[in-house]
Structure formats: structure tokens, C-alpha cells
Amino acid sequence: MTISENEQQRVIDWALRENACTPEALLPVLHAIQDALQYIPELAFDALAHALNLSRADIFGVISFYSDFRLQPPGRHLLRLCRAEACQAMGGRSLEAEVRRRLQIEFHATTDDGHVTLEPVYCLGACACAPALTLDGSLHGRVDLARLSVLLDQLEIPR
């Protein structure tokens, strides 16, 4: 899914309008852009630097520090698997292995067909219903291999 530069620019302008033009608005602005576009496009750098009185290096430094922000569009689906201890105690590692096997990718990668992006997450607050993951933003708990298989099967039906 490509987003035209016009559309990107429109989102960036809107994100800047919605927030005060001060350096501390950087995170809220980045969130607003990524909520709309799912990533931070190259176009944003100069616009944000100018509007928030920051350097491009400042902006890049912040984007690279926080694991939420992406510089590339993700796949059509986003799978975030909890790798933390409570989920491990309930079989999280075998889920991890199964996801890798099915999708043939590692964490922080997107399948070749651009279908699914896999990201690690360290606790989703659903520890008492472990293991947990989010798929396109929806939280799923008590995910055993069978449940995982159903979720992945649903994804493999092309839209």
C-alpha cells in the first residue's frame, strides 16, 4: 500500500496543527503521523524540524530510540508477540518458534509478500491470560498453538 506524497503532506500538516509547535510536541506529533500512516515518511523530517525548531538529527535520534516508530511502512498485518517472562512461562517460546516457522521471518521483519510484519513486545499487561499477542491492534490472550494457527490461517486468506 503506497501513500501519495500529497496525502503524507496532508497528514503531517494536520499532526502539526493539532499540537503546539514546541520541541516537546515531537512525540505526540510522531504518534499522530504514525497512527494515520503506520510509519514516519521521509517527508516528515524537514517539516517537523522546521515547525518544532529541531534538527533532522534530533528527530532521527528520537525515532530510532523508541521502538514504536517505524521508518518503513509495515506489512498489511502487524503481529506483536509478547516475549516477556509470564508469557514464556506459559509456552510463549513455542509460539515464537511456530510463528517463525509459519511466516519464515525473524522479529522486526516483514514477509516477502508484504503480508505480515512481526514485532516483539515486552508485556502487554495480559500476563494473567498468557501467552498474549496483538494482531492488528487487537489483544489476544491464552493463545495456544491451535489458537495461533487459526489466527494465522485467517491472515493467509488474501484480502
Partner: protein, 521 residues
């Protein structure tokens, strides 16, 4: 006939196991049967193994069923569950479920009970009575009350909340801030999330009291991005509270003002550390600041700032309402009051248990938790998040209080307890602790940034059976360096899980090439 009320949790933990589908099925079924119902999306009672747990009102009391699946709905209607009819999923009176009955719910007394979207429900359950009392007191008297209660920070460091407030109150400045730390990064913890989703007005009340006590007119809730549902609940609650005059200018015509806003984190564990959090709020990379200055003197934008955890702040209203002496009666030693413990991992009955400090770890895991979910023997519990020690069953007699845990080189932290069964490989868990530290290090100091990577490599070698005795020795030295020389507790405490694993589960590190004598548990 009066319209029956059905409670189906809107808590994201319950939604993760199907509460949304259950709610939809109940509405669908009642429509097709032409029965009018009043559906309330309450918070979770915290009995997660029973979620989705639904409740109805029978003889004026709440009656529970669970765990409910969509397939069960038709049968529940057939059994007339709306009036508490008999059904295999019936759990009886909610408050008589032993897991809940034996708790001491002060901070969580409303969670799961009320409709978290309803200000009138909050007020009907004593909401804002703490704030009203605070408004009638001099600010210094509020601070004294919190000091006397013995409340210590529930975010992890256990610093006395009232003392922190006094420092900010006594520091002169035109603009002070109260920052609520809702980053809840510790794995195995979910109390902040449950509270924000299940009783968001309570957090607003606590924050407002803090603002009045220290003379801060602005408050900010820094919430992790993994909690979108909690963020929405808070956003809505702030709007409603502002419209009703509980927030904003001239609160309840008292002449005091307090503005509250929400800021979202962006996936960095270290931003739960208070100074990294402040950096993040100022729009920068979340790197830890050197102390001094303390945030209480120079915090957000260089101004005096209270940084408190969600649970610390949400506990203040009950202290004001019932009095410091009432609160301080709970607890043990220097750990006063109650703590919402969060039990998870490989445990039969995972959930939230608010209890006075002092019960033992074993009571929590066996009496409440019922042992492991798999039915295997319990082998270890990690207490206090990813930087907390792994304890063997031998030490399950340790009372849950700050000092008793410190004496075991362990910590209670934010109150998370993660249980592992006999299949756990503790060398792998030690490796994970170092890996986590490497992933999440803010990079400001070398012992943490480089040490964690080196630590993971060393454990890899140990797991591979390579020069095990020497590598363990090097690993211990490395842990010492990290503990002594790290700037914050991420690098300073990541060695805790590693060293405790080495200490109590040494057999897991004994690979084939090890001399017999070293291969003991």
C-alpha cells in the same frame, strides 16, 4: 418486571479472552428473545482464570458466572441467568468467591464493581470524598496525612510518598507539576492497567489531591502505548470530570485549579524510570538523567515535579477519606497498607490480589494461585518484574514486605509475581534477563550498555558448555560491575535475576564438561 442488569467486563484482559464476543452474544440473544437488558461494561474483578466472568444482580447482590464462552449464552438464557438461575458455570455470589472474599481491597474497592464510564456511579460509591476532605484541609495537612499513612511508592522504589510531596511542596516555584507514571513496563504486572480501565476517576481524584497538596496546577499522565484501551478510558474520564467541575479552573468552587493531560509513551521500558520519563515528556530520547538534582527540585522543564506511580496516586483518596491511621493499620513492619499483587505465569488461578503486606509468597502462589496451570511442581517465582530475583520454593516462606524481600536480595517492586513450573530452564531465563537489558538499555552508561551484551554472550557460552566454571566466574564479576557502576536500576538490577538463578538453580548452568563438584543444585 424490572430490566435485568448484566455486567460483562470491558477490561482489556477480559477482552483478550473473548469478553467482547460474549457481550455481543448476550445482546443478540436478549434481542431475539425480546428481553430488555441493561448491559454494563465494568472493569475486571481480577479473577482472570474465570474471565470472561459475567455478573447479574440477584436479591440486590452480584452473582457470577464464568468463564463464559459465546456458545454458553443460549444455555444461560435458558437457565434464566438474568435472575441468577442455576447453571454449570454459576460461581455463586461474587463477593463470596474465596479468592475475592479473602482480599483487603482498598485501592481496588471499586474496580469491577462500578461502571468505569459513569461519574454518578463513581460518586455513588464514595468517589471524590477524599478530594472533598483534601479541599477542606491546608495543603501541609494533606501532606502530613499521607506521611502518617506510611504509603510508599508502588512503582518499584518504595520511597515514602508523603516525604516526596513535602519536598515539592516546600520548593518555591511558579509552576510545579504532578506526573503520573503509567508506563507499567514490568512484565507480570497489570495493576495500573486494571485500575485505569476499571476506575479511571479514582486516578484523577488522586492526582488532583497531589496537585493541591504540593501546589501544582498541572498534571500529566504518561501512559505506555501498549495500553490503548486504558488511554481511551482516561481520556473520556478526564473530559467528564472536567465538565462536572472536578478538574480545571476553580475545582468545586474551591479556588484551586488543576489541569490534567495524557501523554503516550512509545515503547521504551526505560521511560518508566522517572528521569527518562521526564526527558521523554520534553520530547527527547528517554535517557536517564544524573541525580541530583532530584525531580522534586528540578523535574519537568526544570520545575519541581512529583512523579508517582498510578497505584500510589490512586491510594491517596482512601487515605484522605478514611484517615491515615485506618490505612496504616494494614501491613507489616515498615510496609504499611495494602499492595495489589499480580499473580501470573504458570499458575492455575492468575489474577489481582490486593492484600495487606505480610502474607507469604507461598500463600500467594498456593492458596490464591492453586499451584501451576500445567499441574507440574512449582519450581521458581520471579517477583518484582524483569529486574526481580528468581526465588526457589525454599524461600516461599518469605513474607511479602519490602524489607523481608530486600534481606533476600530480592524486591517486591510493583508487585508482580510470575510462577514457573519444573520444566523451566533457569539458564535460559538468566540469558533472557541480560538480553532484555541489552534491548532496553538507554545507552547512557557503559556497564549497562556493554555489560548486558557481554553478559548474554557469557551465558550463551555457558549454555553451550564452553569453559563453564570460568565463564560463570566472569559472569559474576560482570554482575558486580553492573550493580556497582550503573546509573539507574535497569543496569543496576538486571543482575538480580541472573545471580539468583545462579545461586538457587545452579544445576541448570552445569553443562557436561563441568567437574562433578560444581554440578549441584
Amino acid at each position: 418486571m424490572t430490566t435485568a442488569t448484566v455486567y460483562v467486563p470491558g477490561d482489556s484482559g477480559a477482552i483478550a479472552v473473548g469478553a467482547e464476543e460474549v457481550a455481543r452474544a448476550i445482546v443478540g440473544e436478549s434481542d431475539s428473545r425480546n428481553i430488555a437488558i441493561n448491559l454494563v461494561r465494568n472493569g475486571s474483578r481480577g479473577l482472570y482464570w474465570l474471565e470472561p466472568m459475567i455478573e447479574v444482580v440477584r436479591e440486590g447482590r452480584r452473582y457470577a458466572y464464568g468463564p463464559v464462552k459465546t456458545d454458553d449464552i443460549a444455555g444461560l438464557f435458558d437457565a434464566d441467568f438474568l435472575r441468577g438461575g442455576d447453571h454449570p458455570l454459576a460461581l455463586g455470589w461474587t463477593e463470596d468467591i474465596p479468592y475475592l472474599r479473602e482480599q483487603e481491597r482498598l485501592t481496588f474497592r471499586r474496580v469491577g464493581v462500578v461502571d468505569p464510564r459513569s461519574l454518578s456511579d463513581f460518586i455513588a460509591h464514595d468517589g471524590f470524598t477524599g478530594l472533598r476532605r483534601a479541599l477542606a484541609l491546608a495543603p501541609s495537612a494533606i501532606v502530613d496525612e499521607v506521611i502518617t499513612s506510611g504509603l510508599r511508592g508502588r512503582g518499584g522504589a518504595a520511597f515514602p510518598t508523603g516525604i516526596k510531596w513535602r519536598t515539592v511542596a516546600e520548593t518555591v516555584s511558579v509552576q510545579k507539576y504532578v506526573v503520573c507514571n503509567a508506563d507499567e513496563g514490568d512484565s507480570g504486572t497489570f495493576a495500573d492497567r486494571m485500575l485505569m480501565e476499571g476506575d479511571p476517576f479514582l486516578l484523577i481524584e488522586g492526582l488532583t489531591i497531589a496537585g493541591i497538596a504540593v501546589g501544582a496546577t498541572r498534571g500529566i499522565i504518561y501512559i505506555r502505548s501498549e495500553y490503548p484501551h486504558a488511554e481511551r478510558m482516561l481520556q473520556q474520564a478526564i473530559m467528564v470530570a472536567s465538565e462536572a467541575g472536578y478538574l480545571g479552573i476553580d475545582i468545586l468552587c474551591s479556588g484551586r485549579s488543576f489541569m490534567l493531560e495524557i501523554r503516550r509513551g512509545a515503547g521504551a521500558y526505560v521511560c518508566g524510570e522517572e528521569t527518562a520519563l521526564l526527558e521523554s515528556l520534553e520530547g527527547r530520547r528517554g535517557q536517564v538523567r544524573f541525580k541530583p538534582p532530584l525531580p522534586a527540585h528540578k523535574g519537568l522543564f526544570g520545575q519541581p515535579t512529583v512523579v508517582n506511580n498510578v497505584i500510589s496516586l490512586a491510594t491517596v483518596p482512601v487515605i484522605l477519606q478514611r484517615g491515615a491511621a485506618f490505612y496504616a493499620e494494614f501491613g507489616r513492619g515498615r510496609s504499611r497498607g495494602t499492595q495489589p499483587f499480580q499473580l501470573s505465569g504458570n499458575v492455575r488461578r492468575g489474577g489481582l490480589i490486593e492484600k495487606a503486606f505480610g502474607l507469604t509468597l507461598g500463600e500467594l502462589i498456593f492458596d490464591w494461585g492453586g499451584g501451576t496451570a500445567t499441574g507440574n511442581a512449582v519450581r521458581a517465582a520471579q517477583v518484582g518484574g524483569p529486574l526481580g530475583a528468581y526465588l526457589p520454593t525454599l524461600h516461599f516462606d518469605t513474607p511479602l514486605d519490602y524489607e523481608a524481600f530486600a534481606a533476600r536480595s530480592a524486591m517486591i517492586g510493583h508487585g508482580g509475581v510470575v510462577v514457573f513450573d519444573s520444566t523451566v530452564d533457569m539458564a535460559e531465563m538468566a540469558r533472557f534477563a541480560m538480553e532484555f537489558c541489552a534491548v532496553e538499555s538507554c545507552g547512557k552508561c557503559t556497564p549497562c550498555r556493554i555489560g548486558s551484551v557481554r553478559g548474554r554472550e557469557l551465558i550463551d557460552r555457558i549454555i553451550a558448555g564452553d569453559d563453564v566454571v570460568r565463564n560463570i566466574e566472569t559472569l559474576r564479576d560482570l554482575c558486580d560491575t553492573m550493580m556497582e557502576a550503573s546509573l539507574c536500576a535497569l543496569g543496576g538490577m538486571a543482575p538480580l535475576p541472573v545471580l539468583s538463578a545462579l545461586e538457587y538453580f545452579s544445576a541448570d548452568f552445569a553443562r557436561d564438561d563441568m567437574p562433578e563438584a560444581a554440578q549441584r543444585d
